[in-house]
Homo-oligomer: 225 residues x 2
DNA sequence: ATAGAGCGTCACAGATATTTCATAAATAAC
DNA sequence: GTTATTTATGAAATATCTGTGACGCTCTAT
């Protein structure tokens, strides 16, 4: 399973490093941003970020603004870091949909514990139903697919096919194999059918379509660069 | 609608009164217990408590013990009150499944804000009895449904179906799954039956009917967007 | 007995997906 | 370079699925 991604946003690199070190030790994958704008960039680009840790005081966009912007489109859990005892801030945060509020200075152990608690709560920890490779995210439970964060509509067969590809990343798949898995094993049709579906799939996932490679005389292979 | 019930457990009656006053002002119904045993008694007797606020230091059963006991059977949100800076305690709490941790002395406003945030997050106001998503509120106890505050009449099956949808928000449900859950496990009828009920349901909940999404070739999914 | 609500079934139209097909383009072998 | 084979592509043909209204059956209240 891929690691859970956490985005840490703070303008002090020392603080980011501190947080990162503790989170990495817990086997999370940590992304960093030094200001609010960078945070939004990364958030939208990565898209399967499980949690945000936001400092309030930041240049360009502050923590509240980032939070508000993100909440327009996402329910990703957010932890806010604020100066100690700033009660008004804390109240604002809850209105904006902040999930936790930790005041500086804080103990990294507490931070890690809260991160764990939040992820446990949001159910994002144990998921066998999310496949994510090269910016393509398949949520089998919700039956949705996003490419670089943007959701795309796939038909039934397209969904099955793409899932099959991602589940077999780096493995060359013969047409026969594909037919047996994505279609019924007793399917007796034109093997060209696969080509057509691959074509549509490539078109729908845009430039990432290149990840579905043709293996001449054999079949296809999904491979991220 | 019935008020949301919160159980406040603390051996100091002064503290209980303080918390209660603030919560009552927010229109919650507050129950009180002076020790851990009393807390468990009340929790099991009153079936629909939405949230527990537990002091750690108490006679008979302390907060952790109460928490552990409750977690055996229930996922009800729990807020713990502990002495300031007791970091070890806080860490223990998260392991036990505590949702929030507030150190004394605390500002009642913060308490109220966190209570609100937790209840919002848990999606339901009363444990198991009220489901609320996207302006659709199902009161399982009263067997009523309101859409944007306006009550609507649903037949038995429609009610069951809508409930099943809300309980599985964001999850793609195959017709088979729906049949197995909303109908009997041995039901072998026409799958079109579901369509018919979905149609009626959509019509009855008006524009919110769009939340019941069709997943072509697969089934349906309830999703607030 | 009758009317009405709830439920399941059905047929059909419209929507959507899937497959086939013809042809162009690409690739490998010679 | 030429030829044979394979793949890509667009369009057309088929197949499949969903939405919908109608109908009949059962149960209940009147």
């Amino acid at each position: 399973m891929e690691k859970i991604k956490i985005l840490v946003v703070d303008d002090e690199s020392r603080m980011r490093k501190l947080v990162r070190d503790f989170l990495v030790r817990e086997d999370y994958e940590v992304l960093e941003a030094g200001d609010g704008e960078a945070a939004l960039d990364i958030f939208y680009k990565e898209k399967n970020i499980a949690l945000l840790i936001l400092d309030v005081m930041m240049p360009k966009l502050n923590g509240w603004e980032v939070c508000r912007e993100i909440r327009e489109t996402s329910k990703v859990p957010i932890i806010m870091l604020t100066a100690k005892g700033d009660e008004e801030d804390e109240l604002t945060g809850f209105d904006l949909g902040v999930d936790e509020y930790i005041s500086k200075p804080f103990s990294p152990k507490i931070l890690v514990a809260r991160v764990g608690a939040i992820l446990r709560r949001s159910g994002k920890t144990e998921e066998g139903n999310i496949l994510s490779k090269g910016g393509i995210v398949i949520d089998k439970t919700a039956r949705t697919v996003t490419v670089d964060g943007k959701q795309i509509d796939l038909s039934f067969k397209e969904f099955e096919l793409l899932t099959y590809f991602l589940e077999n990343e780096g493995i060359a798949l013969s047409r026969e194999k594909i037919l047996n898995h994505v279609w019924n094993y007793d399917y007796f049709g034109d093997a060209r059918t696969i080509d057509t579906h691959v074509k549509k799939l490539r078109a729908k996932i845009g430039e990432k379509g290149e990840y579905i490679k043709t293996i001449w005389g054999m079949g296809y292979k999904f491979e991220v660069e």
